[in-house]
């Protein structure tokens, strides 16, 4: 399937291994990525905090660009924060024709118009709802047997439920568990899996921020996870890049590799950990790499 692909900022900035691994995984799943390289930052909720109309207009611009991609079935993102921030703006744009016209007026000089009703799905949702876990499972070359994986969702992709279309029919806040199982892994549930990583307040209250990251990482260790997986690169910054500092704040040793979602999928599809950028993490994903080597060895 062809998708208008919004990688977000962080996946091309501080977590390039995310964007890179997505590019490697897509062809294996027959996803054609048409990158929205003209799009702009979603604002991560911060621009909306500053001026709601500004955030709505900026996102309407990206949506309009996505709607111009010929043959694309939908827009796909790889960031929980993009999903949440964009959906919030889209909710306002779709709810009120007058407001939409008002925003489109601002976009008109660039020849852009946003039409109500764009479908914008995170890679996670796309995997479950469009590709299907059965199809995915049939493509698995290296099942995640014995790998204990803890999901870390990120706030923006699980709350508020109504806005994000989470209901009995679409239990999107449980998709990661299903996905891990479809890839052959073992799901580790722990207290913080749907809590906040703390990133939004890292510059305002560093202690409180890192205490959140540290606590969840510690809980995952206590639950004996081998690694975490997240669809959010901002969570990844607090959970991986800042893990050494978080360890100091919670005064315990932390050693918890954190994978981006496409990296985990890529591993199961048989890609080389190195090609997926696993060596670029601050916390070495030793457990994951050891696991994948042992799988390769046993296969040989």
């Amino acid at each position: 399937m062809k998708v208008a692909y919004w990688p977000g900022c962080v996946s091309r900035g501080f977590t390039p291994e995310l964007h890179g691994s997505m590019a490697k995984v897509a062809p294996l799943l027959d996803i054609e990525l048409v990158e929205l390289d003209r799009g702009n930052c979603c604002g991560a909720g911060v621009i909306a905090e500053h001026n709601q109309e500004l955030a709505d207009t900026l996102n309407a611009r990206t949506f309009a660009l996505a709607q111009q991609v010929e043959g694309a079935e939908l827009m796909m993102n790889i960031c929980s924060t993009c999903q949440g921030a964009q959906t919030e703006c889209q909710e306002r744009l779709d709810a009120n024709a007058q407001y939409r016209a008002h925003v489109n007026e601002t976009l008109s000089s660039d020849g852009l118009t946003y039409e109500k009703g764009l479908t914008n799905k995170n890679f996670l949702w796309l995997l479950v709802e469009e590709i299907g876990l059965d199809t995915l499972a049939s493509k698995v070359r290296r099942p995640l047997t014995n790998l204990k994986v803890g999901p870390f969702y990120g706030c923006y992709i699980v709350r508020p439920r109504n806005r994000l279309g989470i209901d009995d029919e679409h239990p999107r806040d449980h998709y990661m568990e299903r996905l891990i199982e479809a890839l052959g892994g073992t799901v580790i549930e722990y207290a913080g899996m749907r809590k906040c990583c703390g990133f939004p307040i890292i510059t305002m209250n560093k202690d409180a921020s890192l205490k959140q990251a540290g606590t969840h990482l510690g809980d995952a260790m206590d639950a004996e996870a081998d690694c975490l997986v997240t669809p959010c690169p901002l969570c990844h910054l607090n959970l991986d890049l800042q893990q050494p500092l978080a360890a100091k704040v919670v005064a315990r040793k932390l050693e918890m590799p954190v994978l981006h979602l496409p990296q985990l999928v890529g591993l199961a599809l048989g890609l080389d950990p190195k090609d997926l950028g696993l060596s670029r993490h601050v916390v070495k994903p030793t457990s994951v790499i050891d696991w994948s080597t042992s799988v390769v060895a046993s296969a040989a």
Binding site: C9, I47, N96, R159, T203, P244, L245, R280
Partner: protein, 363 residues
């Protein structure tokens, strides 16, 4: 609606299992779980279920309630891990989210338990509400008769007026979980009630106080928990964002917590690059204009403590040094179009805010 006109959803009493968290701090005993089987129609409330268990099996179960119709705000609990009003949750709804066929009821979080399902609202919730001066400081001179304000300006605060002080948002607040001193969602929504009221004379003082307090408006971690928890759609997080917006943009309050600077830095970075330039966000948030510029001396230490993370990212090959320093940008024509959006929207004499709670959906 009378039951004769509609087919009753569940007119036959059914059995439901309740698992209630019991704890009496005075007993010296640890908390434990209690299970009871009650019999009620599915459309009856979890509160009625608890009261039946109390009447039939164990009169010592502690639960606070009064109105039984989602008005008084006294029956806040956690049902299957999620905050809710016990009187406003149907048994047949609750059973759906029960993990093992038993409806689990616990006291709310972030507040000490007085007994079983009763938490100490005074020690946390009400104390925080008092912290924000929850009354109107009237503009002088006070008119002889009633204040006349235009309708529009009061509509703006109606959402916060819907709050019934149940504490569900406080129970689930993730910032409060790690920083109990955080003023929190309910009290900050209440603060907006007065900040947004045109008759109030203390807007600047209130906002300055809430911005400078390290546990004030900039301590919220934007987790949407309170939005999800609130049974009255008050959207406390949204109210906190409005407080930030007015404090920073209208009242020009530059707080010591880097909150406003962070917001400004982020917003201007997107104007200048179209994309987020993470490394540049730090010095700008701490008050400088770039790594090469000057920044607020008090923020120097903070900033330096962030350096290792950036250096580590470079060493790990996550970012090239050039990218870390100069960031990534979108093409010039797109950047120009982003800038035009900024000019047009920010150039308007008044900010426009669509509040769906008030206007609803038109389609």
């Amino acid at each position: 609606m009378s039951s004769t006109t509609t087919a009753p959803r569940s007119s036959v009493p059914q059995a439901f299992k309740l698992r209630v968290r019991r704890y009496d701090p005075e007993s010296g005993q640890a908390a434990y779980w209690d299970e009871h089987e009650i019999e009620l129609e599915g459309h009856r409330s979890v509160l009625e279920g608890i009261l039946q268990a109390k009447n039939r099996f164990d009169g010592s179960i502690g639960i606070r309630c009064s109105c039984r119709q989602a008005i008084c705000g006294s029956c806040g609990v956690r049902i299957n891990g999620e905050p809710a009003l016990a009187c406003h949750t149907h048994l047949d709804e609750a059973i759906k989210s029960a993990k093992d066929g038993v409806i689990e009821i616990e006291p709310m979080g972030n507040m000490p338990v007085i007994k079983d399902l009763i938490v100490d609202m005074d020690a946390v919730h009400w104390k925080k509400v008092r912290r924000v001066t929850p009354w109107l400081i009237a503009k002088q001179p006070v008119p002889e008769r009633e204040y006349i304000v235009d309708r529009e300006s009061m509509v703006d605060v109606t959402q916060t007026m819907a709050c019934i002080q149940c504490g569900a948002c406080v129970s689930d607040c993730l910032a409060m979980e790690v920083d109990p001193g955080f003023i929190g969602p309910a009290a900050l929504a209440k603060a907006y009630r007065f900040v947004g009221d045109p008759r109030d004379d203390a807007r600047h003082v209130r906002l300055n106080d809430l911005s400078q307090d390290p546990q004030g408006i900039y301590d919220c971690t934007h987790c949407f928990k309170c939005v999800e928890a609130c049974p009255k759609d008050v959207n406390p997080m949204g109210q906190i964002m409005r407080l930030r917006r007015i404090a920073g943009s209208d009242e020009q309050i530059v707080d010591v917590n880097n909150g406003h600077r962070h917001e400004e830095a982020f917003t201007t970075l997107i104007r200048d690059y179209g994309l987020l330039h993470e490394a540049e966000l730090l010095p700008r948030s701490y008050g400088g204009d770039s790594w090469f510029g000057k920044f607020h001396p008090a923020a120097g230490k903070e900033l330096l403590s962030s350096l290792p993370a950036i250096v580590k990212a470079v060493v790990k090959g996550k970012v090239s040094p050039t990218k870390a320093i100069f960031g990534h940008k979108i093409a010039k024509r797109d950047l120009d179009s982003v800038k035009r959006i900024y000019e047009r929207v920010e150039g308007k004499p008044q900010r426009y805010e669509l509040n769906l709670y008030i206007v609803g959906e038109d389609e």
